[in-house]
Subunit: 159 residues, 2 copies
């Protein structure tokens, strides 16, 4: 996938991230979705102006690109990110199925600037009930019923 890399897209992501930090319009992050050498989506982090903790650059870019392409999958696309995606964005990327991600700054650089990226990567590796935010499993007899409905629905759209 390395042969798909074009540096000018990564420089564009960094430029957008820098402007976002300068203008106070969100965190210092940006991302692009590129397909067939065309930019499908450009996005910056908008957590604070949108009051949305999920509005990271990569999530925003994926959402915009999917709306433009009218699909919930980004097959054939490349993602360029000014910084290594956090676990939330990594998960979003796996659900979106692009070909590859190219990133510039590392999670350690993000951490040095006060962002929780590395911390969340550490937390994921812990047992669910030992995380700083505990994820507590409750045994409920009907926990399987949503999956049973899913299995028996012949009209379902899988993803």
């Amino acid at each position: 996938m390395n042969d798909l890399y074009k540096e000018h897209y990564l420089l564009r992501a960094i430029e957008l991230a820098e402007n976002n930090a300068k203008n106070g319009t969100g965190g210092p992050f940006a991302a692009l979705v590129v397909k067939d050498d065309v930019i499908i989506a450009e996005a910056v982090n908008t957590v604070t102006p949108d009051k949305d903790p999920t509005a990271h650059a990569e999530v925003n870019a994926i959402r915009i690109a999917c709306q433009k392409l009218n699909t919930f999958r980004l097959d054939g696309c490349q993602i360029y990110a000014s910084c290594e995606p956090c676990p939330m964005c990594l998960g979003a990327i796996f659900w979106a199925h692009p070909d590859v991600v190219f990133y510039a700054a590392t999670q350690q650089q993000a951490s040095q600037s006060g962002f929780d990226d590395s911390f969340i990567y550490e937390q994921i590796a812990l047992p669910n009930d030992q995380r700083k935010i505990a994820f507590i499993h409750k045994i409920v007899a009907i926990s399987e019923t949503p999956f049973q409905q899913w299995s028996s629905n012949d009209q379902k759209v899988t993803y």
Copy 2:
């Protein structure tokens, strides 16, 4: 945090997930945000109708709750999820800062119904460039500039 648990909220999440699967309006998942024993947000998975791979129940619930509470943090809130959150939703939850998460079905149950939750947890643990979707670090001289702008912006809103 276990003393905050109330089973009827988890049963409500499972009921919503079951209905969503039955109605063909998205995947078999739902989540609630509860604060001071009041439901702030109820949401289901809307990946396929919204054509948005990030529209998982927990992400949707967090976004709705933050809009209602006019904040990007869910301090003092509990999240109830019909199924163990996937890595994307785990990340979203850490960024949102609720007190605790209670969930019913496990990632293994989700996996048995064809969802990638366990797979993505396995992928996160791999080196970046060895994942099924490669995350490739590119050395770019200006990678630090967004963080430098962030540090020097006295008006920035941290999150």
